[in-house]
């Protein structure tokens, strides 16, 4: 019954799926972005245990759901573009390992910090949450900046592995070159990658501080979060502007690449979109900074969300023709992998499209409901003295 034979235009579903993956990434960056920001700030903005607990509890009910956006983006990439998933995950081996470590130590920290009353225990987990929440956006920022520059790949060759059975890898699997590709992530493009990492961390600090002002009741913690947001906001505006202008000038969409990958020269349109999104991001960041200073936290939060979204859009538009990869020589005008040769079969794409069309709206609906359930602002007066003795 599920063996559908649908003659859809080949590139149509691939484009749909890359858009869906981008949407999942945007959901992840916008939602988990603020909980990274809040967690990074726990040791700095919380002056006593109750304040720290307020901070943890503003994200407590939602952080795990936010992280699923990342898992779903990973799963969707695997299902829709197996060759992209295979090359990307194995190529970015050490960076992804660092991300996993960050996700592990922050994830347990939220659950475990309050399970024991000792100050040392709690401080340890607060720092683990902060460090984990710092590592993840830092590495993702570096990675995305490198996708924009293009990671060089070549076909796996026989001598990379002992010659073994049934090895179609040599004909089909692309690997980053030269391997291990690690230091290059930091130094290529005169440190554009490192700037990307710093900008993402700063953006999440800004986003998280604004979220704190939105979710805390008037009081010292609230004021501190607002003050911090006003300061880090300026850094985000300047850093973001430098990063985006650098990107637009130095790493624009390439005509030859879009033509080869998509059949049309979309480069002028993509470049224009890049500048438009840059302006949108800049306006949104400035608006967020102004609104949070004037006590309009809701609009400020929407503004940082729009800024994150627009940067994600530019990033995906730039990397989509070659999926973030370029040829082995690092020539940005040619890319061996593209939407078509990296994608799953039509059968799988059709099935996954049906699943996504049905379930994405359902997920959005109950996620929104859960945010509504926990809409109340929290303050130190809301923290019970007894800590987490009941589940």
């Amino acid at each position: 019954m599920f063996a559908l034979e649908v003659a859809a235009p080949a590139v149509g579903l691939q484009i749909l799926w890359v858009i869906l993956i981008a949407v999942l990434w945007i959901g992840y960056l916008v939602l988990e972005g603020f909980d990274y920001g809040v967690a990074m700030l726990i040791p700095f903005l919380g002056k006593n245990d109750k304040e720290k607990r307020v901070m943890v509890n503003t994200i407590g009910p939602v952080w795990d759901g936010n992280e699923v956006w990342l898992l779903t983006a990973g799963g969707a990439t695997f299902a829709a573009f197996p060759a992209w998933y295979a090359t990307l995950f194995s190529g970015a081996y050490l960076p992804l390992f660092l991300i996993l470590v960050g996700l592990i130590i922050r994830g347990v920290s939220f659950e475990y910090r309050s399970k024991h009353p000792e100050t040392k225990w709690r401080n340890t987990f607060d720092w683990m949450a902060a460090i984990g929440s710092f590592i993840v956006p830092l590495v993702f920022g570096i990675a995305f900046a490198n996708f924009i520059m293009g990671l060089p790949v070549a076909l796996a060759t026989g001598d990379m592995n002992t010659p073994v059975l049934l090895q179609p890898a040599a004909e089909h699997l692309f690997v980053l070159t030269p391997a291990p590709y690690f230091l290059q992530l930091f130094i290529n493009g005169y440190g554009f990658g490192v700037l990307g990492g710093i900008v993402l961390v700063v953006a999440f600090l800004f986003h998280g501080a604004i979220y704190l002002t939105l979710k805390t009741r008037p009081g010292e913690l609230h004021d501190r979060a607002r003050k911090f947001a006003q300061t880090i906001g300026l850094v985000a505006i300047v850093g973001g502007a430098v990063y985006l202008i650098w990107q637009n000038l130095m790493f624009p969409a390439e005509a030859a690449l879009t033509e080869a990958a998509l059949g049309v020269n979309l480069a002028p349109a993509l470049q224009l979109a890049g500048w438009i999104m840059t302006v949108v991001a800049a306006v949104a960041l400035i608006a967020a900074w102004w609104f949070v200073g004037h006590g309009r936290e809701g609009i400020a939060f929407i503004s940082t969300s729009v800024a994150i979204l627009s940067v994600a859009v530019i990033t995906f538009l730039t990397m989509v023709p070659g999926l973030g990869f370029v040829d082995a020589a690092g020539d940005r005008t040619t890319a061996p992998l593209n939407l078509l040769n990296a994608s799953s079969s039509q059968t799988t794409l059709v099935l996954m499209t049906i699943v996504a069309v049905i379930f994405v709206p359902i997920v959005l609906a109950y996620t929104a409901w859960s945010y509504w359930v926990f809409r109340q602002r929290l303050g130190v007066e809301n923290m019970p003295d007894e800590v987490a003795l009941a589940s």
Binding site: A3, G65, L88, S114, L166, A390
Partner: protein
Amino acid sequence: MSAETLARWQFGITTVYHFLFVPITIALSMLVAVLQTLWYRSGEEKFLRLTKFFGKVFLINFAMGVVTGIVQEFQFGLNWSEYSRFVGDIFGAPLAMEALLAFFLESVFLGVWVFGWDRLPKKLHLMSIWLGSIGTLLSAIFILAANSFMQNPAGSFYNEATGRAEMTDLLQVLVNPVNLVTFPHVIAGAYVTAGGIIVGISGWWLAKLAKAGDADAETKSAWHWSTRFGAWVLIIAGAAVIITGDLQGKVVTAEQPIKMAAAEGLCNTESAAGFSLILVGSSCEGVAEGQSITALTIPGLFSILGSENYDVNAVMYGINNLNEQYTKEGFSNVQLQKDTAGSLVKDVASYNAANADAPFDFAPSIPVSFWTFRTMIALGGLAIIVGIWVLIATNKGKDPKGGSLWTAAMIATPLMALFANSFGWIFAEMGRQPFVVYGVLPTMSANSPGVSAIEVGLTMVLFTVIYGALAVVEVGLQLHFIKQGLPEVTEPVVLTDDDAPVSFAY
């Protein structure tokens, strides 16, 4: 060691570790939902106290299951990129569906449940634990479908043009005959584990309070109730494990005969093949017909268990015969195996030409298969026996007499149940070797060609160190809360006053 060997170790370590938390999460979430439902229906305080207590045991494990689960989804691409590319068209779909249908459900609703005691009306709050728990069950369906594909790659074919396996039918992937028996077996095993945990903690507390004599009667009665509840769960789930295990044995014998032959140490094809208690050799090489590498054999039992109609004279294939057959013909159970049989045979021939002294062995490690299979059965069986003992000892409101054997049994039961799961999986996955996709893609061809042994080894060591440290923390916390015992509770009410402290916060 080669990158491939290290990658296998890394997968083994991280997966066995992850699966310590999975069965607890799956079954305990549902049992906590049952406890909360009993409280919702009856209003009896003891059910609320038990809900909160076992809810916490569940959450401590859930946190670990979540963070170690992320590694699982990523490491296919990290360490097994050729595998990911080769089967992503089929294997990626259940993984994506697991995230979209299951992970969101469990994460969002468990978040709502944990923090929602005084935010939601009782009924909606109860619904949230049920939905979260259903999420864990859905997750099992999809990931076991993915695993079953590796054991028996149904619903797919080989596409010459793309050089990879592609999906023909999602339904066949989901209702793979292997999945149809694996799913109930794994779920039943999860309930044996959760039942064992409830029995262990409750039985330990019950004996302790009974001995103290002056214990608060309500607390003691709550532990008495949960001791029997856990024992019933353990026994019923244990019966389900045995029935589904028997069915699974038959399916595996049909789909992967050489795996069962290794588990029974059967070198040469026999009718009325026996089930042995002891393995005396480690390889079938040079073991001629009439010879055996096992001892203490119950005649005919393997044939009875392995055949569909419990036929004592059924023919069971031996490792040597199967090796010969696969070397000549390859595999032919499902389309994908048929499509790749020709090139497998050709590759094996050239491999054997190059490695004349150690030809390609289609059998998994015999000692590993033999002993993990028996350890699983023994541990699970012992746990079930403890369950029966507990039921008898607590019958008609009796308190158990306690003593060191009782204490040892209460500590051992959850662990035996848990490790029975681990050994079952080690058997299932090691028994699939030397293939990652059974009969199609050898494991040695599937790892990431661009990733060096140094990288795999380094991350393996670091994962192990981090996981080890987390284990210390999680066991410590677990013991801390077990020693605290049942919490005092107050009836949760929905907060209307924004200034009031919430009843639960981290």
